[in-house]
Symmetry: none
Subunit: 237 residues, 4 copies
DNA sequence: CATGAATGAGCGTTCATTCAT
DNA sequence: AATGAATGAACGCTCATTCAT
């Protein structure tokens, strides 16, 4: 930001570059072979740096994963929080916002999402360093709080368990993304992603909201039912 | 059951007993520490047998997991298939049946379900022996087929992607179970499980079915709002 | 020898049969895969008996080899001793007799010879149980004694080291046999073996005897140049 | 040799130094306890390096032996080839040259020769990696070719099998060396070695050459009978 | 900072040997 | 005698981590 940076800052940015290279390599390798299935050497090779350099920037293999997770997760969480805490927006908008954030994260960096899903979301409690395990659960809790508040304002049916609603939403989104990650969905175009996002959000809302139809439902149904060739997607004819 | 068993059966059952003991121990240990986080010694200790005996019954650590998975999965899948292929039952019934099977499996053997979820459903493709990875995807595909057929008969809205519907259903159930597995749900009583199951199925159906209310919805809502003792659950044989 | 055998002897012979079966299997397996390269299970399978039975007849794996060696070697050594100590026979006759014994042993049981050569003749001193190592060296020493005596009677040139003579003879015979064992000699017919035996003996005698030609040399040369049917071999009982 | 070495050479020699240290240790340990009788830990301890370093330089235990063999054997074979293909030298000279090479190799590094003899020359075919088994057989084949050529020029009697001649020569030399390796020969002084070498070569030549006496025989006999360091066998004064 | 050689604990697997039946 | 399940020490190999340069 300032015109001149101190030496430390310059070094920091240069150092940061290396650090980021390694982090990037770690994400790719973790996504490809999994945390347990790869060696530090794989990360170093992928990053094009010397073996030992990884240990200059990261205390150990675990911290490497920890950092990958925190980096990826913190951005995700903060964006999520912005959506969830958004004053003046309805539950509907918030739910759609959550789906937006998740699918956008996947669009921007699918491999990072894969790592977050595979290595963070699940994996035995015993092995887990607290922060990792917590990260994922916190997301669900955050959503649960949102649903609890919505119940207080009457936006959500009172007979539903907020924690379960959160699990359903997150589970739907996660397995929706997993369908792409795993190759179950053959069409991985941006349009297909967009459609999936909408279906997930609308189905969920439809399932849990008190009223019959959501406000966005009309346009959604119209869009979907009017033509078979997606006249509006435009991009890839 | 019969008064006398043939020698083969006796021997078979005796040998099978040990084998099953080890398998059981493997499930518990895998559930507790994860496949990568445990050693063969842990399994042996848990089973109360000598180190080498594990290798008498299983070729190696991987085959041990493979067997755990196949054993647990095959029963699950066959029960699932029975539900999905059930002639004369509506989509609604099938969806509820799927939730029944999944939650019943969890009720009977939560640790086995945990292993199946953690070690099978996800984990890097590279490491995976085909059968493992496939097992989970096949489940989703089976559900997708079910939804495709339902679209043909008009039971499911034509504007939904069947594969995505399958992902949503499976994802909802899986994360619902994960909420219990991970401890997010504090109340793990049979009643709480039952409630969760119903909520998941109904929310999903609500979300994707063409009509406004499902046939079970009235009683469901009543049940929920009137008492916590499930006066009507009835189903469970 | 007697008309009736005691129970013990009968049992002994039945027991001996099993024992011999296992021993035979051990020889074959050792010959095929080597002592270190095979497991007790291999021997048991080859013999068609149960795993544990091997341990009824032999204390451990090492004793099994020990027994193979002693059995095979003792007969060989005693036949050798008969030849070497033969009163009234010349050095020439003794040397030819040694070659006879060795090649006959190979003709009768090539695999046993292979084991003796591979597992006994050589192998690091440290590992060796005394008897094994000694067996082979004793053979050489026996031959050395023979040569020493022959020097005393003037049958062998005085300027040769008897121990070395023994090594040469044994080495020639052994590598001659190895040529067959290893497949270097393509023609493994009895005639080819016979010819090899003669060449080895004659070349050795030629090389170390004082005189120009050995007494058998004329007939040998004639035999070689005239016909392949060994008109004179005669010896073989 | 040059005053300055390039960095690469320095590094190469430093890395090579460690590698050679381990190789040296492997030779010594293999010679002492045999390939099967020693553990990697023994090699590491002998070399004075950490366990894992062995695996830094060699892929596995087998490659370690393979390298020992190839290193030792290649030099031996190439020297042998020089002798065998030597233009203008007679069969006599070549045979003596072969003995020279073999005994010189033993003089320079008896333990390496021991390993080559024990672990390479013999050992069950199944276990053998091709190169090992082949190495030894190639040596015999090389000698066989030499003898075949000698027959064509009349230097060797036509009635002898060249392959067998090769086996005899190699066998004589090998067991001659074995006599030293195994301790059968008590006197292992350079002079004793020299005498053994001469006796082996002369006896062999005597045995297979067409003429009565070899050209070197006179001097050989004189040397043996005249010299003051052992007037007449006299055992070990 | 950068490199990669060096270290050694950890773990999967083998297999000789014992033992209950 | 015969069987094969049970035992556990032994050992090869991996790989996270440290260290000298």
């Amino acid at each position: 930001m300032s015109q001149r940076q101190s030496k430390t800052e310059e070094a920091g940015s240069r150092e940061g570059e290396r650090r980021r290279t390694i982090l990037r390599a770690a994400i790719d390798v973790f996504a490809r072979k999994g945390y347990h299935g790869c060696r530090i050497a794989d990360v170093a090779r992928e990053a094009g740096v010397a073996y030992g350099l990884v240990y200059h920037y990261f205390k150990n293999k675990d911290e490497l994963l920890e950092t990958v997770v925190e980096t990826g997760w913190s951005g995700f969480i903060s964006r999520l929080r912005t959506v969830v805490e958004g004053e003046g927006s309805s539950l509907e908008q918030k739910v759609r916002g959550i789906a937006d954030v998740a699918f956008e994260a996947y669009r921007v960096d699918p491999r990072a999402v894969k790592v977050l899903i595979l290595e963070v979301a699940r994996s035995p409690a015993g092995t887990q360093i607290v922060s990792r395990q917590q990260a994922f659960l916190d997301t669900i809790r955050m959503a649960a709080d949102m649903f609890r508040s919505a119940q207080a304002t009457g936006e959500l049916r009172a007979d539903l368990d907020p924690m379960l609603c959160a699990s359903l939403l997150v589970g739907s989104i996660e397995l929706g993304l997993t369908a792409f990650v795993s190759g179950l969905m053959e069409d991985r175009s941006p349009e297909a992603l967009e459609r999936a996002k909408v279906q997930i959000a609308e189905s969920f809302l439809h399932g849990v909201l008190p009223g019959a139809a959501t406000s966005a439902e009309v346009s959604w149904k119209q869009e979907r039912s009017s033509s078979g060739t997606r006249p509006k997607a435009g991009k890839r004819s």
